[in-house]
């Protein structure tokens, strides 16, 4: 039963939005509420919004009832940026429009477009969008912008913040601001004078505080997504420009993003890369410093443990297995539109780092096989480690950045820290050129001792990154619930007060994605931890990242592969614990249609899954478990008399076709729909495209 205010919201919105898209049953709220983070909050209501008019209505109605809203397109939300126990507004289906502008120099995109899809619109013109997160095949524009996603090659020069041209947003009072539309801007300046003044006053506060001004400038020289993008207040004078850039990285806590216009960037035609092995991590980091001024497109660091996790790949060079413990690899990428310049760039890179010896000789390669292996070694690290973890544990990826000169020292300090707290499976890799390092490790949250261990690690990590190296606690994955308690630690009181004021300016009642990014609870990162119960061997390795979703035919109709796994896990947990039989029964009530009957079991999800989970296979075993003995016998009988079965089908289809020719399509459809209905869907619906029976094959 919904609480009265939520029921009222649902009733009121049902007049504007198809009630089928306002979900409040336990199966769907859990399925849609889940992301790849290690937090769990289950929304009271999930609304699948299809357009801006609906969103405006949702915002207005929720405001009247003082109900909190969280907006989501799609992304991994690794740090818990888009989860809620209130109302989740999903903007995916219905948000797929795009428009190429200014001779392809710009592209306007709605939030539900997957990043790689945006690039396919631009590819024929040799262009792409700036941000290139590893999750680009699943992450949608809304999430990419709201988190200021970057990636391997975009660095700090081509991230969402740097490449945004315009934005259209819906504010907490239902007003729309479209920065590409002069009329909209003028109207907004008129209707929201106080808001504009507050922004200007914040800007002036910083301008008048020289040390704060330079502190902010410096913090954004390396990747930083901790807190709000307050560089907007030092980089821009015009309040509309400031608002536009503040929205980037705001994690949906300030307004709803209806569309975004990006400045497009060149997608170079020719690419080559090389895996450089150095004797020590210090050598690799020193080489990175030199490479900063070389014509490189990307420099990715892989520590010895990272290399170990890919050394058994058939395409891996033999020497991987015999590398010294101290070794460290850099994957260096080179790009250009002409082969000649590409070669010049390769040569320039070689010269630039010739003072630092490498463990082996290296060559740049454009050979698809080698090129692919090099990048696979890098991109496969999260799943390699995630797939090796013990069942019941969560894979955690930390995302920090350091000033480049301190990178080597910071790498070693991080490794020591993880050793100290006995995270022996931790692997270190990342975008070295940006000083951005990822640590991947597995974490058990099922006991208090383990939660305590995580807490200690996090507080010491904050000291290491902030106090010792003046780095960023989050470089590109968003602050979320995971880092919200540490924003003040990283930014200091003055900057944090500005961030709190930003939140208040746009969301005075704290009802737009509350507790994310700004959270007064110092232990917020240890609350609402997601259970990871064992469910079935095929799906136990699932990290709930959602990479599968764009490849699933039933996503949006019922469930995606990740959502099927979430539901299966919850059923396992509830059956095991017996803690809430009513909830279990409610989920079970819808599960056959949602999880089983609408899965095509095509297995395409496995192609996108970082740990190769074929949820179709899982659903087949689910079907097998749900089947009773007598239907299995029927299947065996049918199987043992296939000749008879195909004969019956042949004759049956001929009979249906005969009746069709007499009765006509409309009557047939009506009749068979009736049969389909009364047989609980077990008799196939007749459709006009159903073929006639075949003639028996003459084999002679």
């Amino acid at each position: 039963m919904l609480a009265p205010s939520y029921q009222k919201l649902k009733d009121n919105l049902s007049k504007f939005i198809d009630p089928k898209r306002i979900l409040d049953n336990p199966l769907q709220t859990l399925a849609y509420g889940t992301d790849a983070s290690f937090y769990r909050l289950i929304p009271e209501i999930v609304i699948l919004a299809h357009n801006e008019a609906e969103v405006i209505e949702i915002i207005k109605q929720a405001k009247k009832l003082n109900i909190a809203l969280t907006f989501r397109a799609a992304g991994t939300s690794l740090s818990g940026q888009a989860i809620t126990d209130s109302v989740l507004v999903v903007a995916t289906h219905g948000w797929k429009n795009f428009e190429l502008l200014d001779n392809n120099q710009k592209i306007k995109l709605e939030p539900g477009i997957v990043g790689s899809r945006a690039n396919t619109f631009l590819a024929p013109h040799g262009l792409k969008i700036g941000p290139d997160p590893a999750s680009i095949n699943a992450a949608m524009i809304g999430g990419i912008v709201a988190n200021n996603a970057s990636g391997m090659c975009c660095g700090t020069a081509q991230n969402s913040y740097q490449t945004i041209a315009d934005i259209r947003i819906v504010l907490n009072d239902g007003t729309v601001l479209d920065t590409s539309d002069a009329e909209s801007v003028a109207a907004f300046k008129n209707s929201h004078k106080a808001l504009i003044q507050e922004i200007e006053s914040l800007r002036n506060t910083i301008k008048n505080d020289e040390s704060l001004y330079h502190f902010i400038k410096n913090k954004f020289k390396i990747k930083n997504t901790t807190g709000y993008s307050i560089n907007a207040l030092v980089d821009y004078e015009d309040p509309i420009e400031i608002i536009k850039h503040l929205m980037v990285g705001s994690e949906g806590t300030l307004a709803f993003i209806s569309n975004v216009t990006f400045k497009t960037v060149i997608d170079e035609k020719f690419k080559s890369c090389s895996l450089l092995i150095f004797n020590t991590i210090q050598d690799a980091c020193n080489a990175t410093i030199l490479l900063k001024s070389a014509p490189v497109a990307a420099v990715e660091l892989l520590d010895r443990d990272s290399i170990r996790s890919v050394e058994n790949d058939p395409a891996a060079p033999d020497y991987f297995k015999t590398l010294p413990e101290s070794a460290c690899a850099l994957l260096v990428e080179c790009r250009d539109n002409t082969v000649e310049v590409l070669q010049q760039k390769q040569e320039a890179i070689r010269l630039q780092i010739q003072s630092i010896p490498t463990y082996t000789d290296y060559e740049f390669t454009s050979d698809p096989k080698q090129y692919y292996f090099n990048w696979k070694a890098r991109k496969g690290l999260l799943p390699t480690v995630g797939g090796l973890r013990k069942n019941g544990t969560t894979v955690i990826i930390e995302d920090v950045a350091f000033p480049l000169p301190q990178l080597a020292e910071a790498c070693l300090a991080l490794k020591d820290l993880f050793k100290k707290y006995e995270y022996h499976d931790a692997v270190l890799f990342g975008h070295a050129l940006e000083g951005n390092l990822h640590f991947v490790f597995s974490q058990d949250f099922s006991t208090q001792t383990e939660v305590d261990r995580y807490e200690k690690l996090m507080s010491e990590l904050a000291i290491l990154v902030v106090d010792r190296f003046n780095g960023s606690l989050k470089a590109e994955h968003g602050t979320g619930r995971n880092m919200a308690p540490f924003v003040e630690k990283e930014w200091g009181t003055a900057a944090y007060e500005i961030m709190k004021r930003i939140k208040t300016i746009f969301d005075p009642n704290n009802k737009i994605n509350p507790d994310v990014l700004i959270n007064p609870d110092p232990k917020a990162h240890l609350k609402n931890l997601k259970p990871m119960p064992e469910s079935h061997a095929i799906v136990d390795k699932c990290m709930e990242c959602g990479f599968c979703e764009p490849y699933c035919v039933s996503e949006g109709l019922t469930l995606s592969p990740r959502q099927r796994i979430v539901i299966a896990r919850e059923i396992s947990r509830l059956e095991e614990s017996n803690e809430n039989p009513t909830r279990l029964a409610a989920i079970r009530k819808d599960v056959t249609y949602q999880l089983d009957e609408t899965c095509a079991t095509d297995g395409l999800c496995a192609l996108a899954c970082p740990v190769n989970i074929d949820t179709g296979k899982f659903v087949k075993t689910w079907r097998a478990n749900e089947l009773n003995g007598s239907s299995k016998k029927v299947a065996e009988y049918i199987g043992s008399s296939m000749a008879g079965t195909t004969a019956v089908l042949r004759v049956g289809l001929k009979a249906v076709s005969f009746f069709h020719s007499i009765l006509g399509t409309r009557i047939m459809t009506t009749l068979s729909n009736g049969i389909h209905f009364i047989s609980f869907g077990k008799v196939p619906k007749w459709i006009p495209e159903m073929p006639k029976g075949a003639d028996k094959i003459k084999t002679l």
Binding site: A600, D602, G603, L604, K620, R623, K632, G639, E689, M690
Partner: protein, 238 residues
């Protein structure tokens, strides 16, 4: 080079193609797929061997999809035995006329048999022995899930480009027809192919693929004739 007398192929018509005949879109003089395949192979110079007790054979996938693992394995084993015998222990290639059945057998069988999916067989064995005489203007093709999983999308494109000047490759996930699911849960097919019509150029009235049931789903959602790519090859080389 094989002489014609040695050019043998085991043709395994899938149970779907053995039982489902032509559809309402097809012309009266169209052959049913199994017969058309037979003629095409003969024209390319092949001697066809049919597996014994063919009417009793099935790759087992319909059982596997429904969760009947035991029935699946016994069907699959029986088919493997029959195909080993027909191919003289793997001496001759085995042609499948549906990609999903090929994919399923590939997963289930041991390595001794040379089973070949419809696209590869046409590309490597049939096309080199025939001449394209009347290339079509424009066709649509759909790579079914099994084609995507074995990474043969490029080959499907290349094959259809041999037969038509303009080829539209349908961009979609699974068609949602999924064997008999399209009959049982038609809304899955409708959802999966909701963007289909927009992708097919106005001038295009024919679509081709390599799975009979998917083709039914495509016909239903596109309103144009979708059938096996064997029909396309047969027509342009006739």
């Amino acid at each position: 080079m094989n002489t014609n007398s040695e050019l043998k192929v085991v043709y395994f018509p899938s149970c779907i193609n053995r039982s489902m005949g032509k559809n309402s879109f097809q012309a009266a003089d169209d052959l049913q797929l199994t017969e058309l395949t037979h003629q095409l192979l003969v024209r390319a110079g092949f001697t066809i061997i049919y597996p014994e007790e063919m009417d009793a054979q099935c790759c087992g996938m319909p059982f596997s999809s429904k969760g009947f693992a035991k029935a699946n394995h016994s069907q699959s084993n029986a088919l493997e035995t029959a195909l080993l015998k027909a191919s003289e222990n793997g001496k001759y290639p085995v042609l499948y006329d549906m990609s999903p059945c090929f994919y399923h057998s590939k997963e289930e069988f041991s390595e001794n048999l040379k089973i070949v999916d419809p696209i590869e067989f046409m590309m490597d064995y049939v096309m080199p022995r025939l001449t394209v005489k009347n290339k079509k203007d424009t066709v649509a093709v759909f790579p079914v899930c099994s084609v995507k999983k074995i990474g043969k999308m490029d080959q499907l494109l290349a094959l259809s480009q041999l037969c038509a000047h303009q080829v539209t490759m349908i961009d979609s996930n699974c068609c949602g027809f999924a064997g008999d699911r399209g009959f049982l849960v038609p809304e899955l097919n409708e959802h999966g192919l909701k963007d289909l019509k927009a992708q097919i150029p106005e001038s295009c009235t024919e679509g081709y693929s390599t799975s009979r049931t998917c083709e039914i789903g495509f016909e239903r959602m596109s309103g144009i004739d979708f059938k096996s790519i064997f029909y396309l090859i047969e027509e342009v080389t006739r």
